[in-house]
Symmetry: C2
Subunit: 397 residues, 2 copies
Amino acid sequence: MNYSFSEKVSHLQASAIREILKFTSDPEVISFAAGNPAPEAFPIDEVRRISAKLFEEEPINVLQYGITEGYTPLRDLMKERMLAQGNFKPDSEDLIITSGAQQVMELACKSLCNPGDTLIAEAPSFIGSLNAFKSYNVNLVGVPMDDDGMDPAALEATLKANPNTKLIYLIPNFQNPTGRTTTLGRRRELYALAQKYNTMILEDNPYGDLRFAGEDVPSIKSMDTDGRVIYAGSFSKVLAPGIRVGYGIAPKEVIQKMVVCKQVSDVQSNNFGQMLAYHFVHDTDFDAHLAGLRAIYKQKAERMMRGMEAHFSDKIAFTRPQGGLFLWCTLPDGSDMMGFCKRAVAEKKIAVVPGSAFMVSEDDVTYSFRMNYSTPTDEAIDRGVEILGGLTREMFG
Amino acid sequence: MNYSFSEKVSHLQASAIREILKFTSDPEVISFAAGNPAPEAFPIDEVRRISAKLFEEEPINVLQYGITEGYTPLRDLMKERMLAQGNFKPDSEDLIITSGAQQVMELACKSLCNPGDTLIAEAPSFIGSLNAFKSYNVNLVGVPMDDDGMDPAALEATLKANPNTKLIYLIPNFQNPTGRTTTLGRRRELYALAQKYNTMILEDNPYGDLRFAGEDVPSIKSMDTDGRVIYAGSFSKVLAPGIRVGYGIAPKEVIQKMVVCKQVSDVQSNNFGQMLAYHFVHDTDFDAHLAGLRAIYKQKAERMMRGMEAHFSDKIAFTRPQGGLFLWCTLPDGSDMMGFCKRAVAEKKIAVVPGSAFMVSEDDVTYSFRMNYSTPTDEAIDRGVEILGGLTREMFG
């Protein structure tokens, strides 16, 4: 038979970018295209110990149904940690455990947005979140960033032009894909605009614990006096993505709707991942583990930046992230960015992600591409950056 | 601030039934209201052995990102098993691993249905699926069942009246909540109607492996010559619900869209659950395990039915399931079913689920309630059925 798909998904197509990413399965390709934690970042011994203990002491609790809101000890522990960080208000807010932070974006959008409602995101932004929003047929509008974060004047113009704006989606720390951190002043300005135009903010903070330079900046959630910020956190980058455990914090009424949506989506997140996350944070020295991760990523980021300074054409600009997993390279205006990325992978066997992947529309103009330093080995960083640098000099002088 | 929720979720309210279910946390209440596997049904020793092996031999694979479609060895193994059962066509179909079978319903509905499209379900049907459909604002229409399954004449009338029908949702084996099995003849009739009115069928089969009486009936999927059946299977009832692993089979074009929707929902299902399911099916005698489960549920079901025959008023009808976890009791026409359920839990401390929970609208008339025999202990079944029987005689003579 012929299938007719919903409007929600018919415009979500496999993208041209996949043509590049499929090269990354070639073992000869050095990939700066991924976003995986470094393999050496996984606390394997602790995980082994905790899992043996769980299956020894409470196997039924691991295997049986749990509740949709999440494993209660993990929820309580994260509420405590988030309270200490200024991200949780016990009287008015609640916390839901999700199947990765990705699910927070989906549940927030599904709960709050009707088709056609406007949702504003940084341009560029994380492709997974953008696609989640698109899958609910919202009017997704990108607002440009500068080095300090989303441009407030452009945001205000967009809010004025779109009085039906429901959410402003922001990744303030070490943004994916740019590696940029929104400054404190800018966070305040963006929150004030959300107040002025009475819209909510969805603050996605998967990388916040991975700061390896500079000083922590208070979250937007911590400035939230009105209950207008939904906060998303994740264990993917600080413990393991394969366990699929994230969390969302929002006013109780909003969490209630997100719980209803989660129930019809996957009933609950897997118990093992939730119990592992709980015991890892509770029973081990989690802060020492985070310090170890920061050391790993600091070394890798600095290695990549040093290599780029040494080998890249000086026509190429790139961000200097203070944390997270990514940096953002920009070719000279008017360059054939997609052509560069294609030559890099096809001829030089170096994969990066074309910046167009992170735009609201792949047709939006960008001369940038994303590089990841967490996944490749040190040797791959050294060699790949040198080769890629050669291509930049060949093409841009 | 004041929150305005999407139309999709604003009509998904906490229900009156929750008033009854909240009593089940009272330790003095005997609950026939759950749908959990029996604790003794979990293969704890095997799970312990497999998890130790996984974290010993390939911890990084458990912890790192996997692919959205699912863990390849599990997909291949399930394709093989489903091919042998006539539920998979390698040339034209594909299989996706999901976060429980619940996610198959959500992904199928999201991929195929626009708001207002008609989706037909058995009345009564599984509340989790009904709510998933409602959360996409479809026109959900219930079609009555008899002992042989969904009524074909009523289905045809509904299809005629709703030419925008996209999906017919069916649970042919040991249906939740009724315990009924759709006969072979009825399955053929329903499939023929889907052909005649060119609509798809969503066949949900979480309990198919739990047949403890009678003969297996071929799935509707196995009759599917047109690629119009989406098939949903689950490890929740045959291994463990806490691992959140199910699977969907459909024509390749449909699976592609479901993969896109899954990617924006939870990226991938948790690796540990998928790898555990793979090794459990592959490395152990899975069929012997299923035989063991059938023996457990046969004993429990027969125990409950014997007790009901001995203690219930003969004005009460009930189904005799040949498998699965549930049976369906019907009070005399005109009875105050909700009043009965409330008295049962408040006065007698026996919880059952009012049938209205499983209707498309809670206002639809039903005199039935659902009883579960998998979760309570044998002693609880004996005692609870006797007490509940006393209430039936007191109220209905």
